[in-house]
Symmetry: D2
Subunit: 118 residues, 4 copies
């Protein structure tokens, strides 16, 4: 069996955070007036989890504005509206990861941006 490294754990923890964020908050009712508040709450909520050094959450205002333009004046947060960057630190390893809508794949893609070991 191979040794499990700090780097392994940094990436594993980074994945947990993005999966958690996505499935906790997607579906939340939102409109252009409340998008700031939701953004802030998502970022603060995930920031309290273990090993999170930094997180930025941006919700696409254009998509919210368009989707909220129907009969009822609101929409639900969708994965495609999210642009997230998070920095996870596990011991000496820093993993930077992102969630961003990929228009070509039509998919909210999670990916690793960078891994740094001291």
């Amino acid at each position: 069996m191979m040794v499990i490294t700090d780097r392994d754990n940094a990436l594993f923890e980074a994945g947990i955070k993005l999966g958690a964020l996505y499935h906790q908050f997607v579906g939340s009712p939102v409109n252009p007036e409340t998008v700031d508040s939701l953004e802030s709450a998502i970022s603060q909520s995930i920031s309290v989890q273990p090993y999170v050094r930094h997180i930025t959450v941006n919700i696409d205002r254009d998509m919210v504005g368009e989707k909220a333009g129907g009969e009822f004046g609101y929409c639900e947060l969708e994965g495609r509206m999210l642009d997230v960057e998070a920095t996870i630190i596990f011991k000496d390893v820093t993993a930077q990861v992102a969630l961003k809508f990929d228009r070509e794949l039509d998919y909210p893609l999670m990916r690793i941006i960078e891994v740094l070991e001291k």
Copy 2:
């Protein structure tokens, strides 16, 4: 078949909002520093839904503080931590409803407080 009344719809809509709030946000990571932000986002999120005139959301700081006191310094929002009051207006009917932890039943109880018809 009986006629469906505005009062029926007011109560039905009030129930929808509490069920939605509960199952959307319970499970969110939270600690004493981020509880304000989560409270505000929940109340703003539900307020954009149809027929919601007013909503107040209070999260029990004592419970959060106690639960977040473990190894990892945070906990998850639980139904028992929530104290919510919402006013739903459907045409001429106003329904006031609440979600509040019932210690005797050990259960986060949703109930109707008052129904007013003009």
Copy 3:
């Protein structure tokens, strides 16, 4: 203050169930092979809640098949895919309610079908 009736409670409870179902399960990963299992779990999960006499949950296979046809072979359960009917009984009152995608409104509409008092 007006008296709160059994009928009020039946409608309130019916709303709670639809709101809960929607915000608990929307977002679940699904594809054509797993749609039966998800349907069954949703219906069984909601059926254990208080006052639920009967519930049927249908997920639109055509929408799932189409949405799951992309690069990754799956999609997420969306509100528009759901066709739900539930019967809630509170004392002598039976409320039948539904969640069904309304194509004209482009909205997953929850509505009261019928209320019966013995």
Copy 4:
């Protein structure tokens, strides 16, 4: 900048799956009669996500039975009730990960069990 490896991606994807499972399904109403159905739906739902080779989901029947013993005969799925093992394959790397309640920490712990590179 360091190269991002297949191993990094395997661990990242493994984390995503556990975070998603947890925050999608925790909160679902359940009782001893419906626990089989929920278990099966969770495992099938997560299995459709990218890179998942195998997953087993066990919900603690004793905890469900005890928690569902109150006034209303049901409870909500909690993280502490879950015992999950998942195998994620990214190219030539296999990551086996788990979610299991740690009684000492009083915490539903996610951890890496093994990483294999061909």
